[in-house]
Amino acid sequence: MVKSLVKGLIKQSLLVHLQPKSNVLNHLTSLANWPEILAIVAPQQAKLLDKWTIVLVLIVLVSLTILLFIGQMLKRQPESHVDPAIIRNFNKRVISWLTICALLVVALLLHKTVTVVLFGFVSFWALREFITMTPTRRGDHRTLFWVLFGFTPLQYVLVGFDLYSIFSIMIPVYASLFIPARIAFTGDHKRFLERTAKIQFGLLICVYALSHAPALLNLDLVTLNPSSGQLEQWTGSTAGLLFFFIVMVQISDMLHFVWDRLFGKHVIAATVNATKTWEGLVGSACCTSVAAMLIQSVLPVTPFTWYGAGFMALLISVMASSGSMTMSAIKRDRRVKDHGTLVLGHAGVLDRIDSLCFAAPIFFHVTRFFLHAENRFGKSVVETVAQLLGSV
């Protein structure tokens, strides 16, 4: 890719020499507009990253870096000023977010396939952590092998080839029937339903749900033309949509944390998670929604209208909170029931992506329902809503 980029730049500079009439300044401005150069040298990349996406990516990376510096400065403060536990938590989160964003940006810059593969590895690792956390029996061994080395890669291959009709049912239909059958064939019937359900759930959350995030890249969407009130082909980049989704989940996580600390009074379920409060849930959902409206108004990276973006962010935030509550419940259950069998310090990736996993399929399907080029019913709903809002 680098090679082709260099080639393109050489081509550009050659053009300067070949066209003596055009002044250099013109070309400098065209160089600044490098998505267009990308469009010349590598059409796929240009489709993946448009101007607005690049601006959003830069803003996110810069603000995360600033947060990182703030965190490091706070770490040096005397302990009486700030609670060191909160600072440690904050720093850990910022570093993991920065890692996620940086990896994602690099993957998106390289190729769509690289992004899909990246998510595939994350899924694999998360599933590995999940199965480590849940007890399985000797009889599950071969099933687990097929789940980790068969269904997990296959799901991402299907996403990579954009086979929507298969990847959306492969795990819920084929894998979820295969798992109990394969275990039954081994002849170990002890706690059969429990074991089956655990493996199915792990596969569903860690692989199936998360695979909907890179699947966003495949979507062929329409967008509302504000002047005509009609739906038309969306020309933006789906990478922007994916990045928007990830950023919204992170903002929601961060706001949840902040709201819990500052205004949290009513704990949702102390037995599951003692820090998550109703104030945090509602507050983060509303604030994320406002943030999404602002982002969409300034940097139109998604095909949504401004109110559409707000609604989607509300949905993302509620799902993200549900995801982390669910994962807390699973961990709590394991720790209470089988203290000592849990391998410590081994749920790092799962901890970070639990909210992503829950939000991804909902975000994918709602977007697809309303804005997919072939979904007539969803499109008519969007147009009706737009007309109603327009008449008000």
Partner: protein, 203 residues
């Protein structure tokens, strides 16, 4: 050849087992040690060995059964790569006891990895220890006997399976034990077994 195979195999073992290593109340050291661990999987020796720091790894030899490791060219090659110390389980004689052989082989530099249960257990429980560890401690009281608890590796590759499921495992190495004066064989082996079991509980 060996210089390439060893790091590659160690890396594969680490990737497959995802092992975290905990040194509980002790530090890695190049002094002569006997690491004794519970035995649940084929991978035990390989993973424990590759989870040691490199300078210690080169001094440490796993003790293994000759009848298993002579079976087939791949196993024989692996045995030579890891510099396994072969013990013939079937031909244990008074004049050629495996303990004497171990002591002779390690000299004044090497450390050993042993599995005092004698074979792999399938239940996940730690079986009774065989007496070899006691005789080693009696003949070489200067050796540090390090208890090791290997967690979850039996799930990665249980007995009788040949395809690994790469779950995450954990290796805990505890503070050394020694043979106290006046301690008999039964008491010592019980103490050794408990030192391994205690590592299971510590978190």
């Amino acid at each position: 050849m060996k210089q390439i195979t060893v790091p590659v195999l160690a890396a594969i073992a680490k990737a497959l087992s995802g092992a975290t290593v905990r040194w509980v109340d002790c530090e890695p050291d190049t002094c002569q040690r006997i690491y004794f661990a519970n035995h649940t999987s084929h991978l035990d020796a390989l993973v424990l060995w590759s989870s040691l720091p490199r300078n210690i790894r080169s001094l440490t030899r796993p003790v293994a059964a000759v009848d298993y490791w002579q079976g087939g060219p791949v196993r024989r090659y692996m045995a030579s790569v890891f510099d396994l110390l072969m013990i013939d389980r079937k031909k244990i004689k008074v004049h050629n006891s495996p303990i004497d052989m171990m002591i002779r082989e390690i000299g004044n530099t090497n450390s050993l990895i042993v599995f005092p249960e004698g074979g792999r257990n399938t239940t996940g429980e730690i079986g009774e220890f065989k007496s070899g560890l006691f005789h080693l401690a009696k003949k070489r009281p200067d050796l540090e006997l390090m208890p090791v608890y290997i967690d979850n590796l039996n799930r990665v590759m249980p007995k009788g399976e040949f395809l690994p499921v790469p779950l995450l495992s954990c290796i805990s190495i505890g503070a050394p034990i020694f043979l106290e004066s006046g301690e008999n064989k039964k008491e010592f082996l019980k103490k050794a077994r408990e030192s391994v079991m205690n590592l299971k509980e510590t978190e």
